[in-house]
Amino acid sequence: MSDVRQHADDIHAQFSDHIDVDIEDVEERLTTLVDEYKVPMDEARRSVTNHYLEEAGLEREDISGGDSEAATIEDVDEPEEWIDLTAKVIELWDPRSDSVAQVGLLGDPTGTIKFTKWAKSELPALEEGGVYELRNVVTDEYQGRYSVKLNSTTVIEELDEDIEVGNDTSEVEGALVDMQRGSGLIKRCPEEDCTRVLQNGRCNEHGEVEGEFDLRIKAVVDDGIDAHEVIFDKDATEELTGLSLEEAKEMAMDALDTTIVADEIREDIVGTYYRIEGPTFGRYVLADDVEELGGPADPEELLIKARSM
């Protein structure tokens, strides 16, 4: 109910400068559409907004911006928020469905986000590399990942400027299903600016060298939909395992074998759920922030869904 109230509030605010709209009336119209006719909220909102537009003899442009707020990509953490973005089109992907006109990746200095532009919205085409002001886009969430949708109320304005696209931080949540080779106690090349991992005491660039010990983990975190490769550097590894580099060296010295460290770590982390946040680097996510996940979310919502299917 409070959700409907929030949307009613937004619509009311949009029109309050133009016509006398009763907020109870807005809420009632939304409730009827959403509860009785099972219309999705964004569609209901659109329909109610159109109703008042007509009543007031206004065009969409007259009121747009009234309800959406200027935001940056990293601000997006809720579905169904109406926002304005200034962003660059980093990539366009092939739409998988005829209902989608364009789909791709937007970036601004704070990060990147997927966008979808519906065919039926009949908006002008975005070009790869172009910078746009996108007013009145709506946020969406699917399995913890956010995107924005361009809809028929969206106003697109191309800007004659370039913006820098920030580091893409991603969040991965899932079961750690594998620890790969090259994890545990490793040796790196000591040459300046090299740091390559040695294979049998040899650096690919500098040949046989006296390596320096380091700790790292290359792991796969899998949510059942995608498998993500995650790298834990020394600090992240120490924090994850509670094992320091010094302790790892001692452990290997006692066993006369460095692989014991990887074995120990594997036993500790494989099969456990984690949430990992960090910048992406090629196909890897660098683990900056790691949280071990405990019990599940309340199953009630899923139960209701299952019973209604």
Partner: protein, 213 residues
């Protein structure tokens, strides 16, 4: 090995009841090294799965060399896990773990035909870890969610079949199609398993929640 790591197969979440019904196995290409998939009856392919449950029994069923069988129980049924000399780490976990214990397993579905012609599905583990009850409960909810997503996609596909005029824009779901052709058991059965699994997590004193149906 490095080749296959480039396109690492996702570990599907599937309850034991559906896993054991996934008797149809296939490859996507004629290449000898192409990955094997089990066809999930809710309409997806699985080369790898991640499961969690209670290890209730272990037994060395090998004749010449060690071959361990473990029974891993979830709210819908039992996974049969087999590990031998080619899965030394998993085999040693089965050898050394005292049941009952909660375990998580990453592994691959394998089908085999018994003497009477029935096809059984078992799990060949890549790794087995002893975990706590929170991990196991999280898996049940996650698996419920993924299973419902598959059922939803399956039913969407099914309803598109009944409305052929929309066929041009209909989402294609080749594994739903394949499941429809290969299996008899209605998808709704797996929804009932999901409900059963989720209900098993509900704690005593949460009865009022039932009223929401």
């Amino acid at each position: 090995m490095s080749q296959s790591e480039l396109t690492r197969e996702v570990a599907r979440r599937v309850f034991a009841s559906e896993f054991n019904d996934s008797t149809y196995a296939f490859k996507e290409s004629d290449d000898e090294r192409a990955p094997n998939y089990a066809l999930l009856p809710t309409g997806d392919r699985a080369n790898r799965v991640f499961v969690s449950g209670t290890l209730t029994e272990t037994e060395d069923v090998g004749e010449e060399s060690e071959y361990w069988r473990g029974r891993v129980v979830d709210p819908t049924g039992t996974f049969f896990v087999y590990a031998g000399q080619y899965q030394p780490e998993a085999a040693s976990v089965l050898r050394e773990t005292e049941p009952p214990a909660y375990v998580s397993i990453v592994g691959k579905p394998r089908t085999y035909e018994t003497d009477d012609g029935t096809i059984n599905v078992s799990l060949r583990p890549e790794s087995i870890s002893v975990v706590d009850d929170e991990t196991r409960d999280r898996w049940v909810v996650e698996t419920a969610e993924r299973t419902l997503d598959r059922i939803e996609a399956f039913e969407e596909w099914e309803s598109e079949q009944e409305a052929p005029e929309s066929a041009s824009t209909a989402p294609t779901n080749e594994y739903a199609q394949m499941a429809h052709e290969q299996y008899d058991s209605p998808v709704i059965n797996y929804r009932n398993d999901v409900i059963q699994a989720l209900e098993s997590l509900e704690t005593v004193g949460n009865d009022d929640a039932e009223a929401t149906v």
